[in-house]
Symmetry: D2
Subunit: 343 residues, 4 copies
């Protein structure tokens, strides 16, 4: 089984390369990058110096070249907009494509245009591409798909705790307040003043207040789970750490005990190796899931206010990006979900 | 004007000493510490090595000794419970006392016992001690006080944005959801595994969920402002930074425009040199108020949800503790609030 | 092949557990801890929540109990002094012991007493226990050993670059100046004020100047390589990071070109998967070797001064402790050195 | 006394503005910036929001405009090369200029060309401009100067401990090995991938090995102190912190006791309020001098090796840049050196 990656210069791409290099059932035979073509992987990505693929040279990210490489499944770690072009061409060449960008996450071209400001470049493809959260999207909806959209990092940390509760009608869908905290790698490896060490160190800042692009993805998925259109208040923050996301969600559930929430989660995630439900008294921490594909989740019921406080921690680059893409790939192949993934 | 400090081994005490050493109208003549008595200040607190008071020796923290020192006003930076004993003795010796502990922040012995688990050691004193948030507590209520309770760090960052809006009836008092993020110095200088460098670095964690001790102080003050008992959802988090607090507050205000909020704040804080209202599009950041006595505040109205997102950043050790105590002291003396305080 | 670990509450122990849990040829069947006995590993060590051994309970660290467990090789991650007692008992029970403490690193009881202040508790055992730096200690000297001393973290980062050059007589052995920078995990998980987040963040500090305990180990090994007693200037520093060590070594080599150094390293490390020699122009960085068992090394010749600047980066908990212990274990079993080790 | 600043968008410029805004004897009347002209200072530099000059607008950095402003002394916080043009024009307009760039730090155009790769744009001016380390450059050499070159940050931390010892002939001038560690703000506020948060966090890296530009400045000053040309080994490193430099210097002094070094420092720095000599057993730490104009210094004599280990910590942006420039300015005016400077 030959696999390839397009786009390896960002943090997500690096993570994908590092994880796929060690996958027991798949051979990483091609890593394409515009800026690094020709260089060995171990030179372009210093942390891979000692790995088994350190000497593999980056290939050029030209579509025709890529289409001819003997690769069964391509992973795309490309900027929004760019991914669509590659996805179309590789599909036409008969390949399977797992896309980590935001290009195919929404279900309708209209919603896409509202949030991204321009028409979707391939509206028909958008409508047929499944969005797959591996623990929650029914497998029959995507087991034959040739193109799959992976969830964003914030949405992963929000949908995992909330979707089962909305499906089971255990919480008030109109009362959801989400605050999320992301490590700086979530912004990518862009040379921008805001992301300089001295700007983010000793800092904690809300951004994208009321209009972060992930909001549309979050609301679309939560609405589907609730069976009706819902709106949430989502406030993302940049925290001074490299990796990790913590989401703290407050939702009204005056008539539901904390135990009922825990039971609902347990029955949903009983066969989910990548989700851990924390015992009462423990709180999830990105430090505990760092470099793993695990989501740690906890719930506290406040009997005074009637609210639930749900918390979920993931590594934004692994369970929130590269690791989850591999988890999807594993399921497509019929392998255990966590094959080759650190937990 | 002679002043003194009891308790200087923690981060709050250090901050108080550093700020008062430079105060233009007051002489810091005594700093008392149980563990450091006899040592010069510049040895016990290395960052004061070069200051004007580096050679002043710590005095012993024995109550009778302190009561005899020629000091007009004592600042207490002591652990909860310990402060009361010192406050009582120094009041009896005719001194003015500004207390930074939580001992006198609540108004009733009953509430104190509920949250602290034991009866208050001086219930009569508790009931007569004013709680002073310098920008918001009317001066006539405390200008003659001999003992004053300073607000906690989280409450300062929460009450400054919310109290004016509740007083003006601009927001729904029953819908307040608060998430706060504190630097690790908020936990004090305790040698506890949880606060080791390697435990907090690359970490972000909720704690005290539903029952942090500051909750009682926050609700008491907000209820007073709203004119009726209210409950809030308060979730504090530890963030990987030394100093600073950011609070992100969501509150329903479907019928109030963001501009109305801004106007209300402007009229409240027009003569408040320690509060800065940020222009639209800017978000407060603890990095911007580090080592200052300033609170930076912003509001965003989400027209879609009808909610306001209020954010407020302070330095937990300055505006949230030592600096605010000096601001109160300045007002007691009739000096400009920010005398000797970096802004 | 059954293996066990004694001492898992520190950072080294945690790292060992995490790595051995995934070892392809060995079964981790017992993890002993005084403080956590009875608890599942996934509760005592939150980052192991999702691992295959999350439900394995810690066993009690009583020597007689451990001696009866069906384990072939025990890894000791215990404080100095404590390790000897366990090593003696487990050897008597016929087990193989790989000791990560400093108890058996020196070759003579006299040197031990000079640096540790007390007589060695088992001088005869000390003299016969091999000190094994897997890339450099000839295998025949230790392939039959039942007790092995693993190198310290600082020494690993210093001996790997220097020993080959001293053996080949390429540098002046009397001119070695070493500055090393360690992440805070090197100090262990001790609840001590010095290692609190706020004390180490934004800090950089020399410590143990002229008399760090690793000095004796470093000088003993370098002297053996040089064939004569040598002294070095070793100044360790604490750097504000969790993991990693960088050592910067200046040594006079007026008559040796940088290329000769590189060649010497290349011939020494040609079959060493855990050592990477960086190309000219690159400098090693603990960030690049984080969570791997790799040592990255570089050399720059200063033609102006005649000095070499050697730099070496490792992860102090992996190549400097737990990973290197497993590398030794792999070699003892005749498996490839890096079996089960991330590179 | 009116003063002005040209170049306020970098970290050094911001620090200068913040310090000069509070200077008791000088009025900051003009801050020039190419990119921010017209904006209020409090908008361009968020941490100045609450300061007395928050509403002062940036002026445009056009030379003719600046020459006409009623300013007695201009501080230049400009990139290398750019500073010369401004210095020439402002001198011609009769102003005093304190230059924080590297343009006038070396004494000869030849040395400049060797290290900067191009001819100096104003060689005659270079030769007559004094380089002023306020504690060590005799005042009569520069008290009438109209243009002054301020030392670099690394050199400040190296020259303060070494120059007195070389002048007194107490150490071997041919044996100096310097390792320095700088916070990331030393690299300026350039949007470059290397200085992104995720690249520097958990990292520690040597750079500019053998050829950092500050080397020429360091050697020129040390040679003058030694009375003969000397070479040093200087290896700078980037450490994961915002501010601060620590330099660790090893120098042979087999016949000099540590006490003699301390005495030499004491007699040199007895009237130097900005230098603190640490007692035996203490080590300097950038955390202790953060945001102050103080240099902390310590010496340890290693009787075994005959070497001294000298350590010096400063804040790179204050004592290493903006603060030191003000210290020079204060001396030029005949005010106490530390007027308006936090210690």
């Amino acid at each position: 089984m030959n696999i390839g990656i397009v786009g390896a210069s960002g943090y997500t791409g690096e993570t994908l390369v590092a994880l796929l290099a060690d996958h027991p059932h798949a051979d990483l035979v091609a890593v394409a990058s515009r800026s690094q073509a020709g260089k060995p992987l171990g030179v372009g990505i210093p942390r891979l110096r000692g790995s088994s693929i350190a000497d593999l040279p980056f290939v050029s990210a030209e579509i025709e070249t890529l289409a001819r490489i003997e690769v069964d499944t391509w992973f795309l770690a490309l900027p929004h907009g760019v991914a669509t072009t590659f996805a179309q061409a590789l599909l036409q060449a008969g390949k399977t494509v797992i896309d980590l960008s935001a290009d195919f996450r929404l279900s309708s071209p209209e919603t896409y245009q509202t949030h991204y400001g321009n028409p979707h470049p391939a509206p028909a493809l958008l409508e047929t591409t499944p969005y797959v959260l591996p623990e929650l999207t029914p497998t029959d909806a995507w087991s034959q798909a040739k193109l799959i959209a992976c969830p964003g990092c914030y949405p992963t940390s929000i949908l995992l705790p909330l979707i089962p509760l909305l499906r089971a009608n255990l919480v008030d869908p109109d009362s959801i307040i989400i605050n999320s905290y992301s490590g700086v790698s979530g912004a990518g490896k862009k040379a921008v003043e805001t992301f300089l060490y001295c700007e983010r160190n000793e800092s904690m800042k809300a951004y994208g207040v009321t209009n972060h692009r992930h909001l549309s993805e979050i609301e679309e998925q939560l609405s589907a789970a609730a069976g009706k259109p819902i709106q949430v208040q989502f406030t993302p923050h940049l925290a001074p750490m490299n990796q990790g996301i913590l989401s703290t969600i407050v939702v009204a559930a005056p008539h539901t005990a904390g135990e009922a929430i825990h039971s609902c989660w347990e029955s949903t995630y009983t066969n989910a190796p990548c989700v851990a439900l924390l015992p009462p008294g423990s709180q999830p921490d990105p430090a505990h899931v760092s470099k793993t594909n695990r989501a740690d989740m906890a719930v506290v019921k406040d009997n005074r206010t009637g609210n639930l406080i749900l918390t979920c921690a993931i590594d934004n680059l692994v369970k929130g990006a590269g690791g989850q893409a591999i988890q999807i790939f594993n399921q497509l192949q019929g392998w255990p979900q966590h094959t080759g993934l650190p937990l």
